[in-house]
């Protein structure tokens, strides 16, 4: 609609302030990417330990260590992105509970407590039963920790591209993708072919579903709002086109192709390449989707 108005009126902005630029940049991309790995590895560890308890016992310690490292990376990038990072404690002492930032901070704190507890009971107390019990609670809490960023994007009223529940599904898929990819890299050849196939299928279906959703947003998103039309122009011939498609190919298409080949040939050596490709591509994909709505002039 706006295009027609411009064509009809020849309206040109002749004096205004400069566009504010990208406010949430690569640091927030790192935040989302690290969180996907930190919670995703817990989802996948839970699945494997329930389905293959005898063969996957060795993943307990490395899984929780990876989760601790990446959740703390997520928290680190969250804090350093604040313009007043030393006031971070305000979230806990002056909380505003309508904000998904506040809710996310509280949930993530609870999740950190659980995974630290898991590490403590496993490493210090050698208490596997307690670890497994805490893992169950960890999975329950990992779901909202994964989803809260989607809630935050939904609360970002100005950015029409980020819709709920689309973003929540993308967040879950990102966690499954990153979790299965990390587990494939972690387990290596210690996993049986059956387990590798399971992980390959999780990776492949997560990639396929996420890819389909991005494509559907690309095609159907512009049919509802002119702001989405303008936003998606940045990836439809605009300055982020190359990066967008690079992300889609590296995150989703290459892993899908390698997963298919692995399953077809019953040979799983390609899965590590698929895993690395998925993790790298996920960062690129998330970054593009984070940045493009910020390029739009709001006023």
């Amino acid at each position: 609609m706006a295009h027609e108005i411009i064509a009809a009126t020849n309206a040109v902005v002749t004096l205004d302030v400069a566009l504010p630029g990208i406010v949430w940049g690569w640091i927030i991309t790192m935040n989302m990417w690290a969180k996907s790995i930190g919670t995703g590895i817990i989802f996948i560890a839970f699945y494997l330990l329930k389905k293959y308890p005898l063969e996957t016992g060795f993943i307990r310690l490395p899984s929780v260590v990876i989760s601790i490292v990446f959740i703390h990376l997520f928290l680190f990038f969250t804090v350093i992105d604040l313009h007043q990072m030393f006031r971070f404690w305000h979230i806990f002492f002056h909380p505003h509970m309508t904000s998904m930032i506040t809710i996310g901070a509280w949930l993530a704190t609870g999740f950190v407590g659980i995974i630290l507890g898991m590490a403590y009971f496993l490493y210090m107390k050698k208490d596997v039963a307690m670890y497994d019990k805490l893992l169950g609670y960890g999975v329950v809490l990992a779901v909202p920790v994964t989803l809260y960023t989607a809630g935050l994007m939904a609360q970002s009223t100005a950015r029409e591209l980020w819709q709920m529940p689309t973003e929540s599904i993308q967040m879950m898929l990102a966690a499954f993708l990153a979790g299965s990819a990390t587990m494939l890299l972690l387990g290596g050849n210690k996993f049986s072919d059956t387990i590798k196939k399971d992980l390959a299928l999780i990776l492949g279906f997560s990639a396929l579903t996420a890819f389909i959703m991005y494509m559907l947003e690309l095609v159907f998103g512009p049919m509802k709002a002119e702001e989405v039309v303008a936003t998606l122009e940045f990836v439809k011939g605009g300055e982020y086109t190359f990066m967008f498609w690079l992300g889609q190919i590296v995150a989703f298409l290459i892993p899908m192709a390698l997963v298919c080949k692995s399953i077809k040939d019953k040979s799983y050596y390609l899965l590590k390449i698929a895993a690395v490709s998925a993790l790298v591509g996920l960062w690129i994909t998330k970054h593009v989707w984070l940045v493009i709505p910020q390029l739009l002039n709001m006023s």
Binding site: I5, A11, V13, H90, A158, R159, S299
Partner: protein, 212 residues
């Protein structure tokens, strides 16, 4: 009490008096604006005209910035103003992501969010916002929307059918109205914008010694 703003775009002549008054009153740093006047040129030569649109915080009844702020730095005060507590703000920029009007920025000096407060400090002392005082043509009208006898309520009544808000589809319920506005003035997507090429910042100079 529900304070609100109305700008009669038919009167505004783009003098930027309001912009400067706001800068001075609120010590708004260079490169940032709580209030600004946007110029949009319409038509093709010789049938052209220039429109002027003062843009500031809309002090929405359903303010996305207030909802997303994790520490209540952005909060309502009893007269309906969405105020900001800069000592509490953590600079997460969530409000910048949420505001559909691009009215919030990070103050480069304090590294906290900042925006128009309808000069809440002046209002508390029974004074008008500085932009209202500075406007030479009384295009800025400020008052209590709950009071049917206030200037703003009367103005809205007198101009029914010609009163608009920005982006009503966002459901933010703005308390900032425009009379005489249209797509070109109120919809940022309805005008072409070539960044870096505006009226006063793309000056060209004649070469030295060119004309003697």
């Amino acid at each position: 009490m529900q304070l609100g703003f109305l700008v009669d775009l038919r009167l505004c002549m783009g003098c930027k008096g309001c912009e400067i008054a706001c800068k001075v009153e609120n010590e708004v740093p260079l490169s940032t604006w709580r209030l600004r006047v946007k110029y949009v040129d319409v038509g093709s030569f010789p049938e052209t005209k220039r429109t002027f649109t003062p843009l500031r915080c809309n002090h929405c009844a359903n303010a996305p910035c207030e909802r997303i702020c994790p520490v209540s730095a952005l909060h309502y005060i009893e007269n309906g103003i969405v105020n900001i507590d800069k000592d509490r703000c953590i600079g997460c920029a969530g409000c910048i992501m949420a505001c559909p009007y691009g009215a919030i920025y990070i103050d480069p000096l304090t590294q906290t969010a900042d925006k128009c407060t309808y000069c809440a400090h002046r209002v508390a002392s029974a004074m008008m916002p500085s932009c209202v005082v500075a406007c030479p043509v009384e295009a800025n009208i400020f008052g209590d929307l709950d009071d049917p006898m206030s200037n703003i309520s009367k103005y809205i009544q007198e101009n029914q059918g010609n009163v608009q808000v920005r982006k009503p589809e966002k459901g933010t319920d703005p308390h900032h109205f425009y009379v005489g506005g249209g797509n070109v003035t109120l919809n940022p997507l309805a005008s072409f914008r070539a960044e870096g090429h505006s009226l006063f910042n793309n000056l060209t100079h004649l070469p030295v010694g060119g004309h003697h």
